[in-house]
């Protein structure tokens, strides 16, 4: 059966190739890329590599001749390769330590700025502790590894020390890592709990924002004045109702669409994460937030931003700085381009911004759900069912205002 499958594929692919070749020929003709210099350069690089191989071969032969002459003259072996390799290990250690220092200082300075969220600070401090511990072990064990390699290289004079085991030594290096790891596990466990098992502060209730992923964009839904995002059902999804919101649920009537995620500083934000098609991942590295969006399942992540975008621009000394939300789970050809800008602002700025965001509902949807129409002249203009086009329309603001008073 497998053989059959192979045969089938072979046939399939020959035909595919034939088609491709035809298409390729058709495409190549108008473009008229001159392939000659390209082939020439390919040949050039191949020759260069062969030349390198030749060089290596000549050096190899030279070494061989040298060693043979030494042998013929009955002198000790010409090159002591054990010593050569042992010395390279030491060189590797020295250069490598320099390289690690370079990486830590140069590339280490290009990484994310300090966490801009409450739980992120805990993650950062735990990261630093782990980094210090692992760096010590990393450097220590490598020094031992390469220096032992150097000092205990074969000298031809010595016999190795017969040392099959030492129980107390082994006990030490079982127990010490176990203890260190216990500390790390405890810290990690407590932090993890504090991130995912939050007790709501009645005075500072989280702002719920729904993030829905699809190939290859995000749709944001703000809950409106009632603070609740309404029910939705994927079966209701149409061209005008991109999220499948059920407008028979009153909570949906004030839900707002937004082009960028604007969140007030120091106020907890509860992300409600869903997906329309495949698995994506909501990744907001500056806030140390990541959670997959899974079709058929709703997940939640709560975090509190602590630094406004403006402050972060000053902190990072980068006037173009932006908080970002992007996808970190392979989701198709546009995976590399799924961006949403996040702006952390003061509560006042947020309040001013949110009233300007359009509602999801419009008269078309009202008709569809048999709801009373709103007699608004400009109503058709405010139909941002699709997140890709979210016009900032004043009519939407007008509709929104009464709802906000509550």
């Amino acid at each position: 059966m497998a053989a059959l499958a192979v045969l089938v594929t072979v046939f399939a692919n020959t035909s595919a190739f034939a088609q491709e070749a035809a298409a390729g020929a058709a495409a190549a003709a108008p473009k008229q890329i001159d392939m000659v210099p390209i082939y020439k350069s390919a040949v050039f690089y191949t020759m260069l590599f062969l030349l390198l191989c030749l060089f290596v071969a000549i050096v190899g032969k030279a070494i061989r001749v040298y060693e043979l002459t030494r042998e013929a003259q009955e002198k000790p072996e010409g090159i002591n390769w054990d010593t050569v390799n042992a010395v390279i290990f030491v060189l590797f250690l020295i250069v490598g330590l320099g390289g690690v220092y370079f990486e830590y200082t140069v590339h280490g300075n290009m990484i994310l700025p300090d966490a801009a969220s409450e739980h992120g600070k805990k993650i950062d401090s735990m990261f630093n502790i782990t980094l210090i511990l692992t760096t010590i072990v990393f450097i220590g064990t490598h020094i031992a590894l390469f220096l032992f390699s150097f000092f205990y290289r074969n000298s031809g004079k010595r016999k190795a020390y017969f040392y099959p085991h030492n129980n107390s030594l082994e006990r030490i290096w079982t127990i010490v890592p176990a203890l260190v790891l216990t500390v790390l596990v405890l810290m990690g466990f407590l932090t993890w709990r504090s991130i995912f098992y939050k007790i709501d502060d009645p005075n500072n209730k989280p702002l719920s924002i729904e993030v829905t992923s699809q190939q290859f964009l995000w749709t944001l839904r703000y809950p409106g004045a009632d603070g609740v995002v309404g029910l939705k059902n994927y079966k209701l999804i149409t061209g005008t109702n991109g999220l499948g919101m059920d407008f028979n649920d009153k909570n949906n009537l004030d839900d707002q669409n937004a082009d960028e995620m604007v969140i007030p500083v120091n106020k907890p934000v509860r992300l409600i994460i869903t997906s329309k098609d495949v698995v994506h991942s909501v990744y907001m590295p500056h806030f140390r937030v990541q959670l997959n969006s899974v079709p058929g399942m709703t997940s939640y992540f709560e975090f509190t931003p602590t630094i406004t975008s403006e402050d972060m621009k000053l902190k990072t000394n980068d006037p173009a700085f932006q908080y970002l939300l992007f996808c970190s789970k392979i989701c198709g050809s546009g995976h590399y381009n799924m961006k949403k800008v996040i702006r952390v602002v003061s509560q006042a700025e947020y309040d001013a911004w949110i009233v300007k965001q359009p509602l999801f509902i419009n008269n078309d949807l009202r008709k569809e759900f048999k709801l009373p129409l709103v007699p608004d002249a400009a109503a058709p203009a405010a139909a941002p069912a699709d997140s890709t086009a979210a016009p900032k329309d004043s009519s939407a603001v007008a509709m929104n205002k009464p709802a906000l008073k509550k």
Binding site: G99, Y163, P285, I330
Partner: protein
């Protein structure tokens, strides 16, 4: 069991005296449909090498895309056609490259190429067995693997391209051809190939386990087995218990794809089309996949650890430090590896309570790994190290195992994983600990047992060149990638062009790509050395590394049945190197204690009072100074 025995001549239990090696074999039965474990090992190795070269080539292709995202390479169009129109790799094809690179490397090279080669070669040879428990099943195992390779590669020749949902093929992306073209016929081929591959692994694994358990030669009790065999044995157990789960998962995925079931699918809208599937969960696939997937990474690394233990001990001319601890840590890793799969799923949205539990089990597994590392270091300490190419690779393996293992402590911590998951930090981590470490373990094995496989030696100097360039370049490739991850750059991104903050990493990408190209070219040194030496290498002696284990007691010329006469009897553990009082710095396992009275130590007799008495009397008579040292 008396451990002081005369060189024993009774051959009870070995009445299988059919004329090994005398019957004529046709080309087909000798080289193609061979049932001889040594030939099957070579078949696995060469197929593995070919697949490794292909997968490495694929990685160079996508590294080129990452380094020069805006540049056109018309030559790519010549070879790849519509997948690189205008000389630039397309996003879909980029994902296909990443997917197939991962699949080939993890399954076809580091699982089949590594376990398949060395378990087949060494289990019979190091345990004193004439062949595997079931040679026919062993042959089937190879041929199923071979067909799986062919099917996997054939997906490059279908119109919609190879599978491209990542090597973990999470549905719904892998289930819906509309989501990505690679989930069409390419994914069907991937799944078919994987089912055959798992069948191959099961046949191999069952063979390895039954051979190790039932067919060891006289005197070879479990605690006298070399660490290589322990590693292969435990690896096989892992594979036998976890691979079937992947098949279960794959079959359900096939049902979802072809027969309209909803095991993994629910609430999906593709474009404007509402799919009818309800009630499934992609998380189920993730559980099933990682239930294999995590043991899989230990299936990859444990043989490498076993090989390194053996190679380091032989070439440091020292017993491996803490043999028992090494075995127990392997057992610990084996058991624990079944209960850590959830650390791949911390941020999938599964219940956070599970995340906490899996974090604990994951970080516990670091303890046996640490023990192994320190034991390697203690083995090198005060050794008499010969830097054969195999030894260099084994040391390189230890280095990568440390570097990659330590970053695992970050990722195993659920809280830290929130920000590191699916970034380049993960890429760097597993390429060091599972990619580079396992490859270097494999290379160490190839250099070390090449004389056993082909009866000839590889060129040592080319081996040095190959090792040093590869070792340095592997670090140059993977070390900087950690920092991309720490900057929040996700993996499997086709280009860094769409994000302002990623632009600064493009220069690093160029550097990494050049390092990868140099590393790839360095493999030419290995390939040349490997294939040239098969025919023209220096003829090997019977025991070129002066090693203790049984495989070096077989004749250089291969014969079916391995030993021309009687199967050797084992008298001692495999690590009596540089034993005080011994004439040479190694004592093969076949040498009875009665022949090495001067070097025997009290613990050699495992509490056998009679043997200890004989030894004590002998010592009192012949070596009074030794009695002073060892018996007081």
């Amino acid at each position: 069991m008396s451990t002081i025995t005369l060189h024993d001549t009774h051959n009870n239990g070995h009445h299988d005296d059919h004329d090994h090696g005398h019957h004529e074999q046709s080309f087909l039965t000798k080289y193609v449909f061979s049932q001889d474990h040594k030939m099957i090992a070579k078949q696995f190795l060469i197929t593995g090498i070919v697949m490794a070269v292909i997968a490495m080539g694929l990685s160079i292709l996508f590294r080129i895309q990452l380094a020069w995202p805006d540049k056109s390479f018309p030559i790519l169009e010549t070879f790849l056609g519509k997948w690189a129109e205008g000389g630039r790799i397309k996003p879909d094809f980029y994902l296909a490259l990443v997917t197939i690179h991962g699949t080939i490397m993890v399954f076809f090279v580091l699982t089949a190429g590594l376990s398949g080669t060395f378990s087949n070669l060494l289990i019979p040879l190091q345990l004193g067995v004439r062949d595997m428990a079931s040679p026919f099943m062993n042959m089937l195992s190879y041929w199923l693997f071979f067909v799986a390779c062919i099917i996997m590669m054939s997906s490059f020749f279908v119109q919609t391209g190879p599978a491209s949902a990542g090597w973990t093929i999470y549905p719904p992306l892998s289930a819906l051809p509309k989501a990505i073209p690679g989930s069409g016929l390419g994914m069907t081929l991937w799944l078919t190939s994987m089912v055959l591959f798992v069948a191959s692994q099961l046949m191999g694994g069952i063979n390895y386990v039954s051979t190790v358990l039932n067919m060891r030669t006289k005197g070879m009790d479990l605690w006298k087995m070399p660490l290589t065999i322990w590693a292969f044995f435990l690896t096989a157990i892992l594979g036998v218990l976890s691979f079937p789960v992947l098949v279960a998962g794959v079959v359900l995925l096939i049902f979802d794809r072809s027969f309209g079931t909803s095991f993994y699918l629910s609430d999906i809208v593709m474009g404007s089309q509402v799919l009818p599937n309800e009630g499934g969960s992609p998380i189920l696939w993730e559980h099933l996949f990682w239930f294999l997937g995590h043991p899989e990474v230990y299936i990859v690394i444990m043989p490498a650890l076993g090989i390194s233990s053996e190679v380091i001990s032989v070439n440091a001319r020292k017993p491996i430090f803490g043999y028992h601890a090494m075995v127990y840590s392997l057992i610990g890793i084996t058991v624990l590896s079944f209960i850590v799969w959830g650390h791949h799923m911390f941020v999938t949205g599964m219940n956070p309570l599970l995340g906490g539990v899996f974090m604990i089990t994951t970080l516990i597994i670091a303890v046996p790994s640490a023990v192994k590392t320190f034991n390697y270091l203690a083995t090198l300490w005060r050794g008499n190290i010969r830097f054969t190419p195999a030894m260099l690779c084994a040391i390189g393996m230890v280095s990568f195992f440390i570097s990659g293992g330590l970053t695992g402590i970050f990722l195993g911590n659920a809280s830290l994983d929130i920000n590191l998951h699916d970034t380049y930090f993960v890429v760097a981590h597993f390429h060091l600990v599972m990619g580079s470490a396992a490859i270097f373990g494999m290379l160490a094995g190839v250099y070390h047992w090449y004389p056993k496989m082909f009866g000839r030696m590889m060129n040592a100097k080319l081996g040095y060149l190959h090792f040093w360039v590869t070792f340095v370049c592997a670090y140059l490739v993977f070390f900087p990638l950690h920092f991309l991850g720490l900057d929040g750059v996700p993996r499997r991104y086709y280009a860094f062009t769409e994000f302002e903050f990623m632009q600064k990493w493009v220069t690093v990408n160029v550097f990494v790509t050049w390092s990868a190209i140099v590393a790839a070219l360095a493999q030419v040194a290995f390939l040349f050395n490997f294939f040239y030496s098969i025919f023209f290498g220096k003829k090997a002696t019977q025991n070129p590394w002066e090693s203790n284990t049984l495989e070096w007691t077989t004749p250089v010329e291969h014969i079916h049945g391995n030993w021309p006469g009687e199967i050797p009897t084992v008298h001692r553990w495999p690590y009596d190197y540089s034993k005080p009082g011994a004439e040479q710095d190694f004592i093969p396992q076949t040498v009875p204690y009665s022949e090495t009275m001067l070097s025997n130590m009290p613990h050699d007799f495992e509490g056998n009072a009679e043997s200890e008495r004989i030894q004590r009397e002998w010592d009192a008579k012949n070596a009074p100074e030794k009695t002073e040292v060892h018996f007081h």
